[in-house]
Amino acid sequence: MVLIRNLFRSPAAASVLSLVATVAFYVLVGRADVLALVSAASWLNFAANLGIVALPVGLLMVAGEIDISFGAMIPAGAITTALLSGTYGLPIEIGMLGALSLGVIVGLVNGILSTSTKVPSLLITLGTLTVMQGIVLWAAMHLAGNASIPLQAPAWAKFLFGQLINNSHQVIIAWWIILVGVFGLLLHKTSFGNWIYAMGGDKTSARNAGVPTERVTIMLFVFSAVSACFVGMCGAILFNTTQVSGGMSYIFNVIASIVVGGVLLSGGFGSVMGIFIGTLTFSIVNKGISFTKINPNWANLVIGVVLVLAMVMNEYFRKRAFHYGSASK
């Protein structure tokens, strides 16, 4: 009972209900085969790629910031890996290191610009998003002559980053699970995590209480850009090729997953479990519809309804979390 009561006070509450409701709707109304739906790789692969970016971006949102430049950083990670290790034939380690370093650099730029100016991070990362799109396209066309750059990664790199388990499930799913654990510890079990919550609540008070707000913000932006490059890098290793425009749909999908997961858009509230389940929910809504008898033309309608319902439930559970009514009352 205590477990259930605590669940309903947690930021993940609404996303758990949305997940259950979505699966129930697809199975009962959509006549989807439960086993086929649960064991399908499509939504899980989709979720893992989204989820790795949603974790650090979700933490940024809890801290009261936002990053949308990952929409360009995913292709940037892929292009960098493929350029260095495909076009120029350098060892894959160099290509991977190059991709992740690019993430560090862009993350630093985002973080330093956000902390040293008063410009909202949405606008700053809108700027870096566009700049990076330009750089990525230029680099691909001028240095490789094509947006699809071939890359042949060695077996060990394929095994770790681009493997298809059972010929269906991307190995990135395992990375996602590991990162859920890492970010969960970071947000919920360390002082750093407490600072993230405090910054999202009231940045000035947090700074006055001794929280190094600028350092925390910059680190979170670096995590975000590096994670996006990692997703792009894994994609290039898996598919042996790259795309320039692949990341743009991620912007909407990642932010929707985070918000469905109960993170408050204005900061200060959210959990890693919520972001994780929100990503699962969003992915099942999105990809699961093809397992049902529902006409796929209805897909956006269903996604929209689930999103709105999840937001309304989030609002309701957030209010509940405030109620002090203890067990004795």
Binding site: S191, N194, W195, Y197, A198, S205, N208, V211, S326
Partner: protein
Amino acid sequence: MTHPILALNHINKSFGPIDVLHDISLTVRAGEVLCLLGDNGAGKSTLIKILSGVHIPTSGTIEMDGAPVSFQSPRDASGRGIATVHQFGGTFPLMSIGRSFFVGAEPTKGWGPFKIFDRKKANEIAIKSIRDFGITRIDDGERLVGGLSGGERQSLAIARAVYFGARVLILDEPTAALGIKQAAHVLRIVNQAKKKGLAVVFITHQVTHAMAVGDHFAVLIRGSIAADFKKGDKTREEITDLMAGGSAMAELEAEIESDAHHAHVA
């Protein structure tokens, strides 16, 4: 006689051509409540900001325990034991009681890179500190601060300041947004802080609240101290009139009363 914890000597503050404070001299002693009274715009907030290190005075000196000090930042002032609690408690509504209590000074367990936030210890200390101030309704450190009443939030902020070793407590209009019961609650806590030997600077424009806890009163009008007196030296009416700038208040009250009378007759 021992030195006062905090003394302001002939403080002036101007922002460009605008003089905000003139020749302010005040002393705050341990175990004493200094009430700083003044209408809106009298310069109370500027004075608080000087005390808490946000502003640096244009001229004049600040002494602590008889030795001159200068605050370059809020961290300087809080490092010397000056804690400011703002009207809404300055806490984080969406954080749990235990988490918000320790922002920036989290207790950890473990070692090296594996230091983990000790949530249990944080909750226990936070709850104990609040209960020490007589608030027994709060028993779970996992509750969100936003679920507390305004008075409880103020109390939480005061308890936090005391736990982190504050010697001077600056309370900026702590009762302004509260109902009667809640305000009484906060006043009781102010009294307890005083009994614990803290020096309290209580800023308010509510004369009754000031009279309930104050030992020493200073009335601020247009940036100057218009009156400085001890408990029992003046009546409530005298203080109200002082704050409103002379006898205006009594006249205003008479005017309103006669208006009400006319309305009633009509």
